[in-house]
């Protein structure tokens, strides 16, 4: 459609351009400006320009908050994604198996966790993890007697594990759906040919099925890693970032977005956290662009 005049193109773009520039782009640019000031609750209107001091605070020490929460988040993603993949793959393989009956029933009922709003998921699991009335410790007491109980949310390591559990429950259905789609695209002839050549079920899975699944799974895993890195609801609403061992150090489950939220809206360190946001965005955008180049999406889109 080369015959469309520039005027028309501009008219089509105008609503979106004005809207996005004013309410999506302007705040992001404004955020960069805030990151160069000492703005806080006390210096809300009367703040000073302090150059790159906030950025210097971020990177000042390897033991500083920035690297602690970044490391925690990487660790969280590194533990969560393999679990999501494992449960997504096992459920998909089971639903897709030729001997499985009522496939449609399993497919719908096993993705229920995905449909539950994430804040409600968080509140339900917060209750399950409650050390007195929580269902999990009620179960523990049934098995190990009335005095037993696990420190689901009060011990730093357990709390980290608890958040992993809640997120795995919530996130495996996405991978189940992705794996199911990919499994159905594998031609049966390939598996039959492998069987005729003498491959057993285990070899067919590792040598035929799994390599063919990889192209579909990889982009989904990258996307999920990016989203899991930004976990907020199913972390903050369960632990508020805690438990805290020291008032000056981030809590055991204080991942990057939970840290940003607490610093911004409980301690009101706007300037500092704006700098944190700029660095975090640069990191996320770099990963997004890299993964897109990987899947060649941008090249396709820009044709």
């Amino acid at each position: 459609m080369n015959r469309v005049p520039a005027r028309t193109i501009l008219a089509y773009f105008a609503p979106m351009l004005v809207g996005i520039t004013l309410i999506s782009l302007f705040p992001i640019v404004y955020n960069v400006y805030v990151s160069l000031t000492n703005r806080s609750l006390f210096h809300f209107r009367h703040f000073q320009f302090i150059g790159l001091a906030n950025y210097a605070t971020l990177f000042s020490s390897l033991n500083g908050d920035f690297f602690i929460v970044l490391f925690k988040s990487f660790l969280f993603v590194g533990i969560c994604i393999p679990l999501f993949l494992l449960f997504g793959m096992l459920t998909a393989l089971a639903v897709n198996h030729p001997l499985t009956r009522w496939k449609a029933f399993w497919r719908v009922s096993l993705i229920v966790p995905w449909a539950v709003p994430s804040y409600i998921t968080a509140f339900i699991w917060k209750f399950f993890f409650n050390e007195q009335f929580g269902t999990l410790n009620q179960l523990v007491r049934v098995v190990f007697g009335p005095k037993a109980g696990l420190p689901w949310l009060s011990d730093p390591t357990w709390a980290f594990g608890s958040i992993v559990i809640a997120n795995t429950w919530m996130s495996y259905p996405f991978f189940m759906v992705v794996f199911l789609g990919a499994l159905q695209s594998i031609p049966l002839e390939l598996l039959e040919a492998a069987a005729i050549d003498g491959a057993n079920a285990w070899q067919r899975f590792w040598r035929v099925t799994l390599p063919l699944l990889r192209p579909a799974i990889l982009p989904a895993a990258v996307l999920s890693a990016i989203l899991t890195f930004q976990v907020l609801n199913t972390g903050y609403l369960i632990t508020q970032g805690g438990p805290f061992t020291s008032a000056l150090k981030p809590g055991a489950t204080e991942f990057v977005m939970i840290y940003a939220f607490r610093q911004a809206f409980q301690l009101f360190r706007f300037g500092y956290i704006a700098a944190f946001a700029v660095v975090m965005f640069a990191l996320l955008f770099a990963v997004t662009m890299f993964s897109l180049r990987f899947t060649r999406l941008v090249e396709e889109e820009a044709r």
């Binding site: 193109i9 996005i20 999506s24 404004y30 996405f174 897109l292």
Partner: protein, 277 residues
């Protein structure tokens, strides 16, 4: 051989039943908590169904607290967001899908950059700006914050859908003497109605389930949206968790049904990314 098949089948179905229990138990738990009277959920021993189920919790939240007001607020905010997002982005998305012009690649990358700016981080400048113009605490402020996310999401999503409609169709309309606008309004847009509906519903669901922006930008109980109200209901062990449970059922059962019906339309990862927040 036959016995091997039976064993395999039993093993697979046992695994599926175990996963079913894990997947559905939390939802069942909310259901039983909703019909459980008073404080009887706060006990040290396991009890999976109340001795005397009752609808008192539903009665309480519908008559004694501003829950109906929160429902109304959520409805208003989400509907406004949905329409603003759709109207604001439809023509732009069409231009991105069909027209050739300088800067198209840049625009796409810019959209992607804004899309990958995390909500919580965007909330910081949005909060400061809204406070400077005295919109913090008002539904309008929250709507503006939601539209800032919805516009970019809808632009990406609709462009993706327009791309799947063959170019030949609107090119034929142009050959027959339509102007580009007639081709858009009379040919492409009607074909895209299902896509527009799905995109609109996804924006609605996202707003309906959004907690952090609403919690930060609203302060008066009478302007709360549902998630902010529910936060208060579950956060205090002096009040029965059943209030929260019954309210959670009312707000999430319709939206979950919608989600389960829609999930086969989730084409791309970006669509999925826009839904869960």
């Amino acid at each position: 051989m036959r016995q091997g098949r039976l064993a395999t089948s039993l093993f697979i179905h046992a695994f599926l039943v175990a996963m079913l229990v894990i997947a559905v138990f939390p939802v069942f738990f909310v259901l039983q908590a909703a019909v459980r009277p008073g404080q009887s959920l706060y006990t040290l021993t396991l009890s999976l169904w109340p001795d005397h189920p009752t609808l008192d919790n539903f009665h309480y939240i519908l008559t004694q607290i501003p829950f109906p007001t929160w429902l109304g607020n959520s409805l208003i905010v989400c509907t406004a967001t949905m329409f603003a997002g759709l109207v604001g982005s439809a023509t732009g998305a069409y231009a991105l899908s069909r027209f050739r012009f300088a800067g198209k690649r840049m625009t796409l990358i810019l959209l992607l950059a804004i899309q990958s700016f995390p909500t919580v981080l965007a909330l910081i400048p949005i909060y400061i700006i809204l406070r400077l113009v005295h919109l913090v605490g008002t539904p309008l402020g929250l709507i503006l914050a939601y539209v800032s996310v919805a516009l970019v999401f809808a632009a990406w999503n609709l462009k993706g859908y327009f791309d799947t409609i063959p170019h030949e169709i609107d090119e034929a309309a142009l050959m027959d003497g339509c102007t580009p606008t007639q081709a858009f309004l009379r040919v492409t847009l009607p074909l895209a109605v299902p896509a527009l509906a799905v995109t609109a519903l996804l924006m609605f669901i996202t707003g309906w389930n959004e907690w952090v922006m609403a919690q930060t930008l609203l302060s008066d109980e009478n302007t709360y949206t549902v998630p902010v109200g529910l936060w208060g209901l579950q956060n205090d062990y002096r009040i029965p968790w059943g209030y929260f449970a019954s309210a959670a059922l009312i707000v999430s059962v319709p939206i979950m049904t919608l989600f389960l019906l829609l999930q086969r339309y989730f084409r791309s990862g970006l669509t999925v990314g826009g839904v869960k927040g």
